[in-house]
């Protein structure tokens, strides 16, 4: 049985007063195996959060079907709700005037966790997310990272078999984000299925078994992170300043170079690679010819989309 399955899922919203509708999800079909950590990668407004909200029964779909562990999210809402946990990114969704322990006790009651088990379960969760020492402190005094860890504990308090994490590390400092990812990594080891939305490619690479690329409501591709990393490396770009016209002409015909154009900012030029293997030889050539202002960078998520989908002959 699949942990998550969608078939032709769509969702539209009314937009403005003219009766127009905005398509937030368009014919999305997705399969996630039990125990898998699946990334949902896409820019802001791509439809990631809408998909998570439908799967977690917060929103109803406009069309298509979706099921969690075989239970339909529309027909068997109650059964789905008892099997899932959801963690939204950001500050919202907690009771700031209560302590962490009180928050978890409340959510345990809402999810009908037996009263006898509640204390032990909460103690374990607090230890797991590193909040034992601060468990009796009001949440209003917590940092962003601590709140996010408490969100995760809340999502796990009912013993969820499928966990939805919606941009969970958004706004966290790097250390807090690293700790958070370690917890998610551990959950995977325990057989919990995780659907993680992010627009951070490195996060997706670090955590996910597979990554689904989504944009403008459409599922574009499902890749393994290694494949995604290959694309990222392949389309690396080099920004240079002070390169002569002769050198630029040479670079345009150099193997592994896709394009040489004016840089989007400044007076220099941007060399986009079509093959990561050419990276070293181009850098050597630049240094040999006296170019000293060289910046290398990886493409943005949107640029990877363009390359990835363009390579397959599809329209983005």
């Amino acid at each position: 049985m699949l942990a998550i399955e969608t078939k032709g899922l769509s969702r539209s919203y009314a937009s403005g007063n003219e009766g127009k509708s905005l398509l937030a999800l368009d014919d999305v079909s997705l399969q996630v195996e039990q125990g898998e950590v699946r990334g949902l990668l896409g820019p802001n407004g791509a439809g990631k959060t809408t998909l998570v909200k439908i799967l977690s029964t917060v929103l109803l779909p406009s069309g298509g079907r979706a099921s969690i562990l075989g239970e339909d999210v529309v027909q068997n809402t109650r059964a789905v709700r008892s099997k899932i946990g959801i963690v939204f990114g950001g500050d919202r969704g907690l009771y700031n005037n209560l302590t962490a322990r009180q928050n978890l006790e409340y959510w345990a009651a809402l999810y009908d966790v037996p009263a006898k088990e509640t204390k032990l379960r909460i103690d374990r969760l607090l230890a797991r997310v590193g909040l034992t020492e601060r468990a009796s402190q009001r949440v209003s005094g917590y940092s962003r990272g601590m709140k996010q860890r408490l969100h995760l504990a809340r999502g796990l308090v009912a013993g969820a078999r499928v966990l939805f994490l919606d941009e969970p590390t958004m706004g966290m400092d790097p250390m807090a984000a690293r700790d958070f990812r370690q917890i998610v990594h551990d959950l995977r080891g325990e057989g919990c299925t995780v659907l993680l939305t992010t627009h951070d490619m490195r996060e997706a690479e670090a955590l996910c078994d597979k990554v689904a690329l989504i944009d403008r409501g459409k599922l574009l591709a499902v890749e393994k992170p290694a494949e995604l990393a290959r694309y990222v490396a392949k389309y690396e770009r080099i920004d240079v300043e002070g390169a002569s016209e002769t050198l630029l002409a040479t670079l345009r015909t150099h193997g592994g170079v896709a394009t040489v154009n004016r840089a989007p900012q400044g007076d220099g030029h941007r060399i986009e690679l079509a093959d990561g293997a050419a990276h070293r030889s181009i850098l050597a050539l630049l240094v040999e010819t006296g170019v000293t202002s060289i910046t290398t960078s990886r493409p943005s998520l949107e640029e990877v989309y363009v390359h990835l989908i363009g390579d397959r002959g599809l329209e983005v």
Binding site: T57, L60, D91, G93, Y95, N97, Q102, W107, L110
Partner: protein
Amino acid sequence: MSWSRVYRHGLAVGAADFRDFWSLKSWLFGWMLRILTNAFAWVLLGRVLGSHDRQSFLLVGNAVAVGATSALWASNACTWARYDGTHPLLVIAPSGLAAATLGRTSIWPVNGIATSIATFLVLTLAFGYRLTVHAALAAFPLVVLVCASTFGFALFMGAVVGRWTRLRNLALDVSGTLLMAFCGVAVPSSFWPAPMNAAVQFLPLTHGLLAIRGVLNDAGVGVVLRQASLEAVVGASWLVLALALMQRMAERGRADGSIELVV
């Protein structure tokens, strides 16, 4: 599912909200001072009119009404789950929205009871109103009843403004004014035109206040019980409507996306 357990935890959230709102000092010297100033003005108006009966009528009416209007704050508190982002999470929690909302907002009728009793006490002492212990003991559960039935009405208003949260203060003020003006606080509800008088029979406070006046004026057990029963029916009806509307709004929110809106 332990409904009472969810309610109890919700009550703790409400108590924390309340403590965030009022300290003992600000409750006494901010909230109560404001309430008492207003009540004193009304009762003094009765004294200016030169009638002891009118003064007593205004004293009792205001002392009970401040409890009801305090309980109305529950309508405002219904929207707070929208602001702190817990509303969609409560909707999808297996134990549902109703117990959680009832728990979180229950502190406001309790505040209403305390406000009403304190106002009664101060006005009685200040204006030499004769109140026997027997009458006071009989009136107390009726004050509780009025605050409870107003709570049912407040939850209905809260279910409406939960979808349009920016109307919450308007709804609170309008409904408070409605109760103060037409439900027999300053003048008997029969003073108003027949359609208005008929309409306020369906509002909280109207019958409860009549029951309390009945206790204080020795109107007889039958009259008091009849009015108290009507107050209970009105309150229970609003509560049932409120819970149904809350559920309806939550389901509609899942369909149209308004489940997460704060507008």
